[in-house]
Symmetry: C2
Subunit: 172 residues, 2 copies
């Protein structure tokens, strides 16, 4: 089978990670794939914040957990988190464009031997004062919105593909 | 370079198509890649309507053009359109999940030598009575929402990669 198709079909969300950090060159490739996702009218309004600093990663984990009302690490121990932000003033379809960047990064991660998973609640985190303080600290406009957290790391599990539900395609 | 990464980086939105129809097996692979996109809590609430019937394709073109206030074909002559629908009653993040399916289909199309492009306005088309009548005709629930139109076909252009804007990555 076409290697690219096979990669798209075998990617799985990973929820258990080794402590080993994602190296620079691998992370750079994942980020580049994210930036090359299409965007509405080529507006490129998506911004990626790649977090490997442990203190910042743990703070983000805590803020996301608080929104979930949980005290567990929503990042499943992954040492790297790419926060996908988007600028609603640049393009109205910012959620769609952010999701395409997330998808490209998850597919790139799988192609490079990394595990990944989309963790929600970035919206709520970066709409709140604590999130806006982080945006300021990072030198980013505070009107950016959170689309998702793409957690990255080396998988410590190999989950089986879950079957697709029937009847999800109509042919006309 | 890793063949999969290269494919992610070289996909381009295509806006000029040959009349040649997309064959069954190629279309099936694109649709399968769409279904294998991740979904929130594995809810799989995305539904794909693959349209090759010329009358239906032209009707969808007209409905999308009407929303845009245009009289041109918004599908750029592509003979096949996959309408991505999603069920908001199954999962709140239906726009995100629909976008991931769109992304996987566009990436799969490129891997198979097809061109593709995300055409917006599916939201408005399937929120309107004419769109709901189509959903009924197709035997689908009328509360499904439109996420996007993925046009597919053989490219009659080979656009150059457009440069990525600077400053879209922050490293922490």
């Amino acid at each position: 089978m076409n290697e690219i198709i096979q990669s798209l079909l075998t990617r799985r969300s990973i929820r258990r990670y080794a402590e080993t950090q994602v190296p620079d060159d691998v992370l750079d490739t994942v980020l580049e794939a994210g930036l090359y996702a299409p965007s509405g009218m080529n507006t490129q309004g998506v911004h990626l914040v790649a977090v490997r600093d442990k203190e910042t990663r743990d703070l983000l984990s805590k803020l996301n957990a608080a929104v979930m009302g949980s005290d567990r690490d929503p990042f499943y121990g992954a040492p790297c988190v790419v926060v996908v932000l988007a600028d609603p003033e640049i393009y109205g379809g910012w959620v769609e464009d952010g999701a395409l960047a997330m998808g490209n990064m998850m597919n790139a991660a799988h192609a490079l031997g990394l595990g990944s998973c989309w963790i929600h609640r970035a919206r709520q985190v970066f709409d709140a004062p604590e999130g806006k303080a982080l945006l300021e600290k990072w030198g980013l406009p505070t009107h950016l919105r959170g689309v998702g957290n793409c957690i990255l790391g080396y998988a410590e599990e190999a989950p089986e593909a879950r079957p697709r539900k029937d009847g999800r395609i109509t042919r006309v």
